[in-house]
């Protein structure tokens, strides 16, 4: 019952924010695509002859990395600001606050859908099978739950730290460089060990194995993906539950 209400309110808020972003014009969708596509073209132009030289299907490898990172970034950065942005609502209406975060995920899923279409076009251009994409909804479901968990934590601690959004955007820059998005890492060494504690590494590697290379991912990647999803979601829900009671007083 409670979950049903959270999902319902998330959906309504999501639709409202989606419409707000586009202000009724569906040209707005092009803008979502512009950023990842430009980034893709730029990186491809700079790196395909160097870093990408020994990576099979480098453009697809790169594009999938970019759109997945973009998804995570869009959700988490928005969540560092959302409680303050909607303080008026929080202070005068009783509704499940989880749905504020839920709505961000819904909006991000929507724009991710269009980015996935670009991905499909590239798969067709490269004459690769679309078979792996059948599993993508499942991966994105897990990735959404993981991002939801992280965002629940971020949004609640942002109430204590007013400048968390700045810190987080700096953190995202580091993560963008630390995650093998436009380069690949060897199966051993320092970079590899560092990425073992980077959740994004697991999600992106899993998707690349399945969609770009049509192969079963190693089982430790699967376990890591599931593990990070569960840990993030459980911790997110617990922390948010604890702190969200005080939102109305604190913002």
């Amino acid at each position: 019952m409670e979950l049903k209400r959270i999902v319902g309110t998330s959906y309504s808020l999501g639709i409202a924010h989606f419409k707000l972003r586009n202000e009724g014009s569906y040209f707005g969708i092009i803008w979502y695509l512009l950023n990842p596509i430009l980034m893709f073209i730029l990186l491809l132009a700079v790196f395909s002859e160097r870093l990408g030289n020994d990576i099979d299907n480098y453009p697809l490898y790169l594009l999938l990395g970019i759109i997945m990172f973009n998804f995570f970034q869009a959700i988490t950065s928005e969540s560092t600001k959302v409680i303050r942005r909607d303080r008026g609502m929080i202070r005068s209406i009783r509704f499940p606050h989880e749905s504020l975060i839920g709505s961000i995920v819904i909006v991000a899923l929507f724009s991710h859908f269009f980015e996935t279409i670009v991905m499909i076009i590239f798969l067709l251009i490269f004459d690769l099978s679309l078979f792996g994409l059948l599993f993508y909804p499942l991966i994105i479901l897990l990735f959404s739950l993981f991002s939801l968990g992280v965002s629940l934590i971020l949004s609640s601690i942002a109430v204590y730290f007013v400048d968390l959004d700045n810190l987080w955007s700096f953190g995202m820059k580091l993560l963008w460089l630390a995650t093998p998005i436009f380069y690949s890492i060897p199966d051993s060494g320092g970079l590899y060990l560092m990425n073992l504690i980077n959740p994004l590494y697991y999600f992106i590697t899993l998707s690349r194995h399945i969609i770009v290379y049509h192969e079963l991912p190693p089982s430790w990647i699967l376990i890591g993906t599931l593990g990070f999803t569960i840990i993030s979601l459980v911790m997110g829900l617990i922390i948010f539950k604890m702190i969200s009671k005080k939102f109305a007083e604190m913002v």
Binding site: R5, Y160, E249
Partner: protein
């Protein structure tokens, strides 16, 4: 008799820090330099009363006696520090009208948004849509964006959505005076109709005549306590004596 709202020994303490909005860096620094001094403000002490089905209770008191805090606690917006609040039914707070609105969206989108925040399903909203619009007298503006509305129009809309959301208990904080004379009359008739059907109303207002008109019973809050609880006429006459 069935109690819609039972409040037992509710208290509320705010801890007001001198440095409210702190960045991460200054938080870390203040952890080193010692704990921030926080002032303790007791807003409500030992509040107990109950409201039965179909009862309309007025809540009066000077500014800063905790009326709005009490309303927010009842609405589940603030957690109470002590005591317990038992609510039986759907409680709808009308505090600060229209805070769920998005100015850049059309009225139609806003009705769906605010309705869902007030716990209505999309289906229910669809069914009640026409009634919400016509009660607010805004039939010609369904596709108009809200920033083009006048303040009065927005308040009428917010009020109309709230009373269409099946309230068993309505909490109204200084929001009775919505719209022009005619609309006020209409909304006060609508409230009366809801009360007759069994909705309980808790009404905060500085307009004593409103309380006199709608509420048979009143509660006078003073310094965060229930100072008096009884028939409106006798409470108001004493309140006027002290305020005068």
């Amino acid at each position: 008799m069935m109690h819609r709202l039972e409040i037992n020994r509710v208290s509320k303490v705010f801890r007001i820090g001198s440095m409210k909005d702190q960045g991460a860096l200054s938080k870390v620094l203040s952890m080193i330099s010692g704990k921030e001094h926080r002032e303790k403000i007791i807003v409500l002490r030992d509040i107990s009363f109950h409201v039965t089905r179909g009862e309309c209770v007025g809540l009066i008191g000077d500014n800063g006696t905790g009326k709005s805090t009490l309303m927010r606690i009842l609405a589940g917006i603030y957690p109470q520090t002590g005591g317990e609040v038992k609510v039986c039914g759907n409680i709808v707070p009308i505090i600060g009208l229209g805070s769920g609105f998005q100015m850049r969206l059309t009225m139609k989108d806003n009705i769906y948004l605010a309705g869902s925040l007030f716990n209505m399903s999309r289906r229910t909203i669809r069914e009640k849509f026409d009634s919400i619009v016509s009660f607010a007298e805004l039939d010609d503006f369904i596709h108009t964006k809200l920033f083009q509305f006048s303040e009065g129009m927005r308040q009428r809309l917010a009020f109309s959505i709230a009373i269409h959301s099946h309230p068993d208990i309505l909490l109204m904080d200084e929001v009775f005076e919505v719209g022009d004379q005619r609309f006020r009359k209409k909304s006060s008739e609508k409230i009366k109709e809801l009360v007759d059907k069994g909705t309980s109303v808790l009404l905060v207002s500085h307009e004593l005549w409103m309380i006199e008109k709608h509420c048979e019973r009143s509660i006078w809050l003073k310094d965060g306590r229930v100072y008096m609880d009884g028939p409106t006429s006798s409470i108001l006459s004493q309140y006027r004596k002290i305020s005068a």
